[in-house]
Amino acid sequence: MKPLFEKILVANRSEIAVRVMSACRTLGIPCVAVYSDADRKSKHRYYADEAAYIGLSSPRESYLDIEKIINTAKETGCDAIHPGYGFLAENPILAQRCVDENITFIGPSSEAIKLLGNKVESRVKMANAGIPLIPGMKDSSADIDQYRKTADEAGYPVIIKAAAGGGGKGMRVVSSVDELEDALDSARREALNAFNDDTVYLEKYIVNPRHIEFQILADTHGNTVHVFERECSIQRRHQKIIEETPSVALDDDLRVRMGADAVKVAQTADYTNAGTVEFLLDESGKYYFLEMNTRIQVEHPVTEMVTGVDLVVEQIRIAAGQKLSEQFKNLTQRGHAIECRIYAEDGDNNFMPSTGTILHYSEPVGPGVRADSGIAAGMEITIDYDPIMSKLIVHAPNRELAIKKMIDSLNAYKILGVKTSKKFMIDVMSHPEFKAGHTYTSFIEKHMADRQLDLTAYRTIAVAAASVAAHTAHGAKAFNGVKSDGAMPSPWQTIGSWQIGDSIHE
C-alpha cells in the first residue's frame, strides 16, 4: 500500500516530536526533525529519519518561525507538517501557509483554529448552539441591580471577579443576596488598588469543580466522534500534572450527554482532525463549556491506553483524507489509565524549574507501562523551553490498581541530574482524598499546601548509595586494578517495573 504521505516534517521538539515520529513509523512514512542550537544533542533530532537545523535556541528564531518551518519542509521534500502541541500548533497562519504551499497541515483548518482561538467569539457561537456556559455577565455594570439580577439568574453562590484580574485580587465569593453589595464594594476597592481598574463582573461560582475534557476526532467526510473523557483536575499553577480516564465523576448518562455536547461543539466549529473540548463539571453534575483546544493534547496517551486508538495515527489518516474507521462505531473504555507529567522542576520547592545535564535515565517497563520521553542521558535541560521532559502513563484493570502501578512505576523511573516532581505526585496519589476520587481543581492547594518532605530518613541509604557510586567510579583505584564497575548483565533493567507484579497480586 502506498504511504499516506511522502514525508512528514515534525515542527516540534522533545517528547511530542518523538511521539509523532513513532506514529509516522507505524504508518511507514519517513519523518524529518527540526532542531535549534539548544537541541543539537536532543533525542528528537536523532530519532527522526532526517534532521534539519532551524536556528537559534530562542523559540522565535527557530520553532516559532513559520517561514523557516515552511522552507525546511519544502527543502526536505515533505508534503505534510505535524505541529505537535505548543509552539505553532494553534497558529492559524501556519495552517494557512501550508494550504498556500500545497503542504498538508496535520490538524484542523485555519478557520477553525481562528474561531476557537477567539474565546469570546467561540463562546457566543457555542451558547447559540445550546452548549451550556458558566452563567454570568458578559460585561461589567455600574448598576447594582444588574449584578443582583444576574446573580439571581445564575443562582448563588456567585463570584465577583476583577476584569483586569489575577491572583485572587478583587475576587469575592458571595453566598447570598444580603452580602452582594458589600462584596461588590470591597472587590472594586481591591481591584482598584491592585490593577488601577475597578471593573468587576459576576458569574456563577462553581463549587468543587473538576476539569473534564473530551477527545474529539473528526474526518473530512462529515464524521465526528468523541473518544471519551479525560479528567485533568490535578493542577499546579493552572497547569495539569496528573490526568486520568475514565473520570470517577461521570456515570454513563452524564458521559453520553457531555460526549454529545462535545461532538456538537466540534461540529459547530466545522472542526476536522483531533481536538479536545474542555468542560468544568460541578458537584451536582452540571457542566459548562470552557474552550476547545485545536491540537493533540499532552495527555492524549491515557485515551489511547483505554481505547487502543493511536490518536496521532488517526490525525495523520484524517489529514490524508481517510474516513474514520469502523472501530469508532463501538469504541469502549477498557480499564483505567493515569498519566504523570515529568517536568524538570522541583516538586519539593514550589515547582521551581530545574536545569542541568541528565546524568542517568532509565524507564520502567512492563505490561501497561508507557514512557513518552524526549530525554536521554547526556542531554542538557536548558531554560529555553517548557520544562516537560516526559510523561509516564500506566494502564490497569481499575483505578485502584492503576494508582498502585503508577506509584511503583514512578519509583522505578530514574532520572538523575535535574529535579522532578515524582515524589510530589506519589504523595498526591497516596492521599486518601485522591484515592477516594475527590479530585477537584483545588486539590493541590487544599491537600498539599502543608506537605513536608523529610529526607532525614534516607540518611543511611543515601550515603550508602553515594558511596557505592563513588566506589564504582573509582573502582580501579579501590581494588588495585580489579575492575569493579559491576556491569554484569542484569534482569533488573529489562524488567524495570518488577514491583508491579507484587502489587497486582497483593
Binding site: L359, I383, D384, Y385, N411, L416, T460, I461, A462, V468
Partner: protein
Amino acid sequence: MSSYEFLFDGDTVTSSVEMTDETYRVKIDDEEMELRQVSDNLFSVFIKGKRILIAAARDRNGTTYVDIDSALIELKEPSDDVFGEAGGEEGEKDKVFAPMPGKIVKLLVEVGDKVSEKQQLVIVEAMKMENPVLCRANGTVKAINFAVGDQVDSDSPIIELDIPE
C-alpha cells in the same frame, strides 16, 4: 575496603565499602547493608522487607545524585567547594539571587521598602514560567541592581538588603 565521606544535612557521614560476591557491603555507623549493582548507576537493596531500586550517579563536579523511592537527594563531599552556589548559602541572606538564569518580569519592592522573610521580592521568568523569588530574612531593601526586562544569571544579586544584626 575503602572509605568515603559525604555531607548529609550538614553532618559529615563516613562509610566503608567492601565488595564481596558481586555485592557491595556498606557500613555506616552501626548499620550495615548490601547493595547489588543491577546495571549502570542502578542498585538494588533489601530494606525493611522490601527490595527497592536505587539510582546513584556522580556528576563532573563531584556531586552525587541519588533517587530512592523517588526522593531525590544530592550529596556533596566535605571538601567540595560550595562557592558560587545559585541563590547563595547561609550568611548571604542580604543578597537576593535569581534561582536560575532568566528575565525579570516584575519587581515587587522598591529601595527603602521594609521586607520580611518569605515575602515575594521579584518575579523571574524562565522556562516559560514565572518564578517568585522569596526574601530570606527581615530587613530593608538597600539596592536594586536590575530593571524589569533585564536578563539575569544566578550569580549577580538582583536585590541587596540591609538586615539588622
